[in-house]
C-alpha cells in the first residue's frame, strides 16, 4: 500500500531551498531561544550531551589480520594537549579546541557476561550495568538505567526524560537504538528523523503565525484535557498490573510534558534547511548518517540552551554499526563499518582480510572527530550566562563502545570530554587514569560525569552496578 505522503507532491516551499543543500544550520538563534530567566546570573545550565561511536578506534593494537597496528587515535603524550602531540592522530581534528578538551586514557569497562563484545560495550556504555540476562549476546538488555536518563530524571524540570536520538539505518545488531535505558531492561525510544526531533522539541507545526500557534496550543489543551481524563480513569482500575500502571503513568507524564514545551523556534529559513536535509536519517551512507548526527547535535544544543533538558544521547549506527558504509577520503564507499572494524569481509572472523582496514578505521575515526567538532562549535557559538560560552557551562562527551574492533576490547575505551561543566572538569590535557592495568574505571567515570552535572547534589557514587567500584575520579574533577 503506497502511502499518501509519498504520493503527494512535496511542499512547494522546498523548491525555494535549492540553494541550501548541504548547508548546516547556523545557530545564533540559540541565544534568542534562551528562556528569559536563564539569562539572569546564577542560573545553573549544566548539561551533558553524549555522542556514541561503535566498534572501537584505530589505536595501537596487534591484530591477527593486520599485525602490529600503530597508534592512530590518541595524542602522543599525557599532560597538556599540544598541537604537536595531537598531530597525525584522529584527535588532531579537534586541535583547535584542545584547551577545552579532556582526553582520557585508562577508561576500562567491567567484563560483564553479556556474551558479546558489542553488547558488553554498547549496553554498558551509559549504564555501567551488567546484563539483565547473562550470555544473551545479541539478545542482551542492560540491567540498569543509563546516565542520560538519570540526569534527566533527577535534574530536568518536571522530571522530563533526556533527549535520545539515533542516526543511521535501524534494525541489525542489538536492534537499533540501544544506549539509553529507563531502568533494567527498559530500553528507550530514540528520535530518528531530525526534523521530527525538532518538531518534538518545539511542539507545533512549522511556518505559522503567532495567532496560528496560539490556536494550535488551544487545540492541544482541549485534546490533552480529554486524554488526561481518560488516562486518569484507566489508571485507577484495580486490576492493573504494576507494569501497566507504570506505562500509563509514563504516558500521562508525556501529556503534561508537552504543555510546557519550548515556546520558541528556529527562523523559518533554518527550519526549511532542516526539513530538506533530514530525509537522510535512515541512510546507510556514512556521509548522510554523520550529517544526520550533526542535525541531532544542533537540536541537542538547542534543547540544552533553552533549558529543555540537561542530558542528551546521540547514537550513531546500531549495536555494531554494521549497516553504515562510511566514505573513504577519495569519496568512494568503504565496506560497512563493522567489517572494517573486524578487518575482515564478514561480521565475524570468517571473511577475507581487508588489507588496509586499520587505515580505513582511522579515516572513520577522523570523521567522527569532525562530527564531534561540530557539536563543540555549536556549543561554543552560544554565549554563556556568566561569560564564556554554553560549552563552558556543560560538557559534550564523545565515547566509544569498545577500545578496539577485532578484539572488542573493553580496556582503554576512548572517552573525550569537551567543556568544563561550570569549572568542574579538567581541560586541556590527556589524562591517564591511575590504577592497575585494566582496572575498571568506567563506572567511576560515569559517576564523576553525573556528579559534575549535579546529580545527587553533586556527589553521585551510586550509579551503575553496585558490586563494582563507583568512587569518583578526583583526577577528572577540579578541586
Amino acid at each position: 500500500m503506497k502511502a499518501i505522503n509519498q504520493i503527494k507532491t512535496k511542499m512547494n516551499r522546498r523548491l525555494v531551498l535549492k540553494g541550501f543543500g548541504g548547508v548546516a544550520l547556523a545557530l545564533p538563534f540559540l541565544e534568542g531561544l534562551m528562556p528569559k530567566q536563564a539569562r539572569a546570573q546564577g542560573i545553573d545550565r549544566r548539561f551533558a550531551i553524549f555522542f556514541r561511536q561503535a566498534n572501537g578506534c584505530a589505536q595501537a593494537q596487534v591484530t591477527g589480520e593486520i599485525g602490529s597496528e600503530p597508534e592512530r587515535f590518541y595524542p602522543r603524550d599525557a599532560g597538556a594537549l599540544t598541537e604537536a602531540s595531537m598531530a597525525g592522530r584522529a584527535v588532531d581534528e579537534l586541535s583547535a579546541h584542545r584547551n577545552k578538551l579532556l582526553v582520557l586514557q585508562g577508561v576500562n569497562m567491567e567484563w560483564f557476561d553479556y556474551g558479546d563484545g558489542h553488547a558488553m560495550g554498547a549496553l554498558q556504555g551509559l549504564t555501567a550495568a551488567a546484563p539483565l540476562v547473562p550470555f544473551a549476546g545479541g539478545d542482551s538488555e542492560a540491567g540498569g538505567e543509563s546516565l542520560d536518563h538519570r540526569i534527566g530524571r533527577e535534574l530536568n524540570s518536571d522530571g522530563r526524560e533526556s533527549l535520545v536520538m539515533f542516526a543511521g539505518q535501524g534494525g541489525g545488531w542489538l536492534n537499533g537504538p540501544c544506549i539509553s535505558y529507563r531502568g533494567p531492561g527498559q530500553r528507550r525510544t530514540a528520535l530518528h528523523n531530525p526534523w521530527i526531533a525538532y518538531q518534538n522539541l518545539v511542539g507545533s507545526q512549522q511556518g505559522l503565525s503567532d495567532e496560528a500557534q496560539t490556536q494550535i496550543a488551544l487545540r492541544g489543551r482541549s485534546v490533552n484535557d480529554l486524554v488526561r481524563e481518560q488516562l486518569q480513569r484507566l489508571k485507577t482500575r484495580p486490576e492493573l498490573s504494576s507494569a501497566d500502571r507504570a506505562r500509563l503513568s509514563l504516558h500521562l507524564d508525556a501529556v503534561r510534558d508537552l504543555e510546557v514545551s519550548l515556546g520558541a523556534r528556529l527562523a523559518a529559513d533554518q527550519e526549511l534547511v532542516l526539513e530538506q536535509q533530514a530525509p537522510g536519517f535512515d541512510s546507510t551512507d556514512g556521509d548522510q548518517v554523520l550529517e544526520t548526527a550533526r542535525f541531532h547535535m544542533d537540536i541537542a544544543a538547542l534543547a540544552v540552551s533553552a533549558g529543555m533538558t540537561k542530558a542528551a544521547a546521540i547514537q550513531i549506527g546500531v549495536g555494531n554499526d554494521g549497516n553504515t558504509r562510511y566514505r573513504n577520503s577519495d569519496g568512494s564507499s568503504m565496506e560497512n563499518y563493522h567489517f572494517i572494524s573486524h578487518r575482515r569481509l564478514s561480521h565475524d572472523s570468517a571473511g577475507a582480510v581487508i588489507g588496509n582496514a586499520d587505515v580505513l578505521h582511522h579515516t572513520i575515526d577522523r570523521q567522527f572527530a569532525r562530527t564531534f567538532k561540530h557539536l563543540i562549535e555549536r556549543l561554543e557559538a552560544v554565549p554563556g550566562i556568566n561569560g564564556g560560552t554554553l560549552l563552558d557551562e556543560g560538557m559534550a562527551v564523545w565515547y566509544n563502545d569498545n577500545s578496539t574492533g577485532p578484539q572488542h576490547g573493553i580496556a582503554n575505551v576512548p572517552w573525550i570530554i569537551a567543556g568544563s561543566c561550570g569549572g568542574r572538569i579538567e581541560q586541556g590535557q590527556m589524562l591517564r587514569l591511575p590504577g592497575a592495568a585494566n582496572e575498571p574505571t568506567h563506572r567511576r567515570l560515569l559517576n564523576t560525569i553525573g556528579s559534575a552535572v549535579g546529580c545527587s547534589g553533586g556527589t553521585m557514587t551510586n550509579f551503575g552496578d553496585a558490586s563494582t567500584n563507583g568512587a569518583l575520579l578526583s583526577e577528572v574533577l577540579i578541586g
Partner: protein, 591 residues
C-alpha cells in the same frame, strides 16, 4: 511409541541449558557424551534410519509416504489443559498497526504514511517481532509524534469531502458522529462519560478552527482527540468477568484481539456487529476467523510475520563478490525477497502449511533467479511459478533468500545457516558465541569450506560445545549451495560433503543433504512446535510463558499432521488461551 514430550530431546535440552550458562565459562568435560557417529540401521537403503528396525514392534505411521515416520499421532486431548498466560491490558499499537487502523478507520485506499511522525520504537532484544506489548510505550517522544500524526489525519479527512462523508453525515450531527466514529476508533461503544468528553471537544472546534464551519472544525478536533485517546492507541482490555479459573474477555475485546492477530488492524463492521450480537463465542469465533483469513489483510499479516521470522531484513545486505559471481544480479537480495513473498502468499492462500513450506518444489522466479535455479526463464521480466528439481531443492530453506543471506560475499556460511535452523526453526536456546573468538583461518589448499569450519570449531573447547552437535550439523547440508544460492558440486576443487546428523526430536538423525534436512524438519515435532510458538509470540506480543506449553504442543501437533497456516491461526485464536485472561491477574500475580 513414546508419548510426546517437549520437542527437544532431553540430552539436547540439557546441552542447550549449558550453553545458556555461557560456553566460555564451562570447563571442558571429556566425559560428555557425543552424538553417536555410527549410522543407525537402514534396511530400505533410503539413508534414513529404520526406526522399526531399531525398535521392533512399533507401528510406523507414514502418511506422506516419505519412508520417514510421521510425528506421534496422539490426540490433542493428551496435551493437557490450556491456560491463558498473564498479559498486559494495554497493548499499544505498533507503527504498522497504527497505519493499518487509520486506513481502515477512514476507509482509505492507501496508508497515510503519517506514522513517519513517530520515533523508532524501542525494540527489546530477544523478541524477534515488532510488537513487544510490554515494551511499546507512549513516552514524551512518541506522544509528540502521535499528536502530530493525529493532526495530519484529521486535516486530511476534514479537508476532503469524500473522506469526511465516509465518517460523518452532512450536515454533521455531533452526537451521531461521535458515537459512530467512537465505536470504531475505541473498538467498542463509547461510554456516556466519553461521549460527553468528545462533545466538549467538538464544541471547542469552532474556536480551534475558525477558518471552517463550526461542525467541520468540531469534527476535525474530535478526530484529533480520538486518535490520541488511550482507547485508540492501546488495545484496552478492562474485563474482570471471572468464570472459574479464568477471566472472560468481553465481545469487543475478543473482536479486537481477533482483528489485530489476523489483520494487524481494527475490527471491521461485520466483526463489530458480531460482537454487538454476542456471536463471538464458540463456533462464532471460528466463523469470523475463517472469514477474516480470506481477506488480503490476513495475507499481509502473514507475510509480515514470515519476513521477521526469516530475517528478511538481512537481504538488503546480500552482496556476492563480483570477482567470484560476475553474473549475480545486482539486486539479488530484493529479488530473493520478492520470490519468498510470492511463495508464501501462494502457499497461504492455497491452504499450505509448514510442511509444504519446508518441502515444496514450487516457487516463483524471474529470469535472473531462473538462472540461479537452473530453470527455464519465464521471460518478460516478471515473476512466474516454476517447479524446481525435487532432488536438489525442497522448500523455503533451499531458496536463494535463506542461502544468500547466510553467506559471506564469497562462501556459504554454514555457521549462520546452522544457527538460524537451531534458533528459528527448532527454538533451541543457543547462547551467544564467546567474546574474542579467534578468526576463521583462510581456506587452505585441498580443503573445503566445510573442512575449514570443522577444523576451526570442532576441535577445541569452548567452540566444540555448540558447533559439533548443533550448529554445524544444521549448516553443512546446505554446503551444496553457494553464496548466491546456486547449486555447486565442488568446493575449492574438492567434492562437496553435505552429509550430517541433526539433533531433532528423539536424537541425531542422519541427513544426506539440504533436501533430506527439509524432510526431516517437516516431520519434526520440534520444528512444528517451534513454528507454533512463533505464531503465538506474534499474536500475543510476548515471549513464551509456561502457561503456553500445552497450546504450543497442540498447535504444533496440528501443524505436524498437515494443518494449513490458516488452520493453525484458527487453532490459536479459538483457544482458551487467546479468548480468556488469567485470573491470577486479579490476585496481584501479574506483576
Amino acid at each position: 511409541m513414546t508419548q510426546w514430550t517437549r520437542a527437544i530431546p532431553i540430552a539436547a535440552f540439557l546441552m542447550a541449558s549449558q550453553w545458556m550458562a555461557g560456553c566460555e565459562q564451562k570447563t571442558p568435560d571429556p566425559a560428555r557424551p557425543r552424538a553417536p557417529q555410527a549410522r543407525p540401521a537402514d534396511g530400505d537403503g533410503d539413508g534414513i534410519p529404520d526406526r522399526d528396525d531399531a525398535t521392533p514392534g512399533d507401528v510406523i505411521v507414514d502418511h506422506d509416504g516419505d519412508g520417514r515416520p510421521d510425528v506421534d499421532p496422539l490426540e490433542p486431548e493428551t496435551f493437557g489443559p490450556e491456560t491463558p498466560a498473564p498479559a498486559t491490558r494495554y497493548a499499544r499499537l505498533t507503527r504498522e498497526q497504527w497505519e493499518n487502523t487509520v486506513a481502515d478507520l477512514f476507509h482509505l485506499a492507501v496508508h497515510t504514511g503519517f506514522s513517519e511522525e513517530l520515533a523508532q520504537d524501542a525494540s527489546p532484544a530477544g523478541f524477534i517481532f515488532n510488537n513487544p506489548a510490554e515494551a511499546l510505550a507512549v513516552d514524551a517522544t512518541q506522544w509528540s509524534g502521535f499528536q502530530r500524526a493525529a493532526g495530519r489525519v484529521a486535516e486530511l479527512v476534514t479537508t476532503n469531502a469524500t473522506l469526511l462523508a465516509g465518517v460523518a453525515s452532512v450536515p454533521i450531527d455531533a452526537n451521531a458522529f461521535i458515537r459512530a466514529l467512537g465505536l470504531r476508533a475505541h473498538r467498542r461503544p463509547l461510554s456516556e462519560e466519553d461521549v460527553a468528553l468528545y462533545q466538549t471537544v467538538f464544541a471547542a472546534g469552532a474556536a480551534a478552527y475558525p477558518g471552517v464551519d463550526a461542525t467541520t472544525g468540531g469534527a476535525r478536533l474530535v478526530i484529533e482527540a480520538m486518535l490520541q485517546s488511550p482507547f485508540f492507541l492501546y488495545r484496552v482490555e478492562l474485563t474482570t468477568d471471572v468464570a472459574g479459573e479464568i477471566i472472560r474477555l468481553d465481545p469487543y475485546e475478543t473482536a479486537a484481539r481477533l482483528s489485530y492477530a489476523l489483520w494487524g488492524s481494527m475490527p471491521d463492521d461485520e466483526l463489530l456487529a458480531a460482537a454487538a450480537q454476542g456471536l463471538l463465542v464458540g463456533e462464532g469465533v471460528e466463523a469470523q476467523a475463517r472469514r477474516m483469513l480470506e481477506d488480503d489483510k490476513a495475507t499481509s499479516s502473514m507475510l509480515a510475520f514470515h519476513q521477521q521470522l526469516l530475517e528478511a531484513e538481512k537481504l538488503s545486505g546480500v552482496a556476492p563478490a563480483p570477482a567470484f559471481f560476475p553474473n549475480a544480479p545486482a539486486e539479488l537480495g530484493a529479488l530473493a525477497r520478492q520470490e519468498n513473498d510470492l511463495f508464501l502468499a501462494d502457499l497461504f492462500t492455497t491452504g499450505g502449511g509448514l510442511g509444504d513450506m519446508l518441502t515444496s518444489t514450487r516457487t516463483f522466479v524471474n529470469d535472473e533467479l531462473a538462472a540461479i535455479y537452473g530453470v527455464e526463464p519465464p521471460g518478460g521480466g516478471a515473476f512466474a511459478p516454476v517447479e524446481l528439481d525435487p532432488t536438489v531443492r525442497r522448500g523455503i530453506l533451499t531458496h536463494v533468500a535463506f542461502l544468500a543471506q547466510n553467506a559471506t560475499s564469497v562462501d556459504p556460511d554454514p555457521i549462520h545457516r546452522g544457527v538460524f535452523i537451531a534458533r528459528r526453526m527448532a527454538c533451541m536456546p543457543l547462547s551467544a558465541p564467546p567474546a574474542n573468538i579467534p578468526p576463521l583461518p583462510p581456506t587452505q589448499d585441498l580443503q573445503t569450506n566445510r573442512e575449514r569450519v570443522e577444523q576451526h570449531t570442532q576441535t577445541s573447547e569452548p567452540c566444540v560445545q555448540c558447533h559439533l552437535d548443533i550448529i554445524n550439523p544444521f549448516g553443512f547440508p546446505y554446503e551444496s549451495y553457494d553464496a548466491t544460492g546456486a547449486l555447486r558440486t565442488h568446493d575449492n576443487g574438492l567434492p562437496i560433503d553435505t552429509a550430517s546428523e541433526v539433533l531433532l526430536d528423539e536424537g541425531p538423525q542422519p541427513v544426506a543433504d539440504g533436501v533430506e534436512l527439509a524432510e526431516a524438519m517437516a516431520d519434526s515435532r520440534v520444528v512444528h512446535e517451534c513454528y507454533a510458538e512463533h505464531w503465538l509470540n506474534v499474536v500475543s506480543g510476548r515471549v513464551r510463558h509456561d502457561d503456553d506449553t500445552n497450546l504450543i504442543k497442540r498447535v504444533g501437533w496440528a501443524s505436524a499432521t498437515g494443518a494449513s497456516v490458516k488452520d493453525l491461526l484458527v487453532e490459536i485464536v479459538t483457544s482458551p488461551a487467546f479468548l480468556e485472561r488469567n485470573v491470577v491477574e486479579l490476585e496481584g500475580g501479574a506483576e
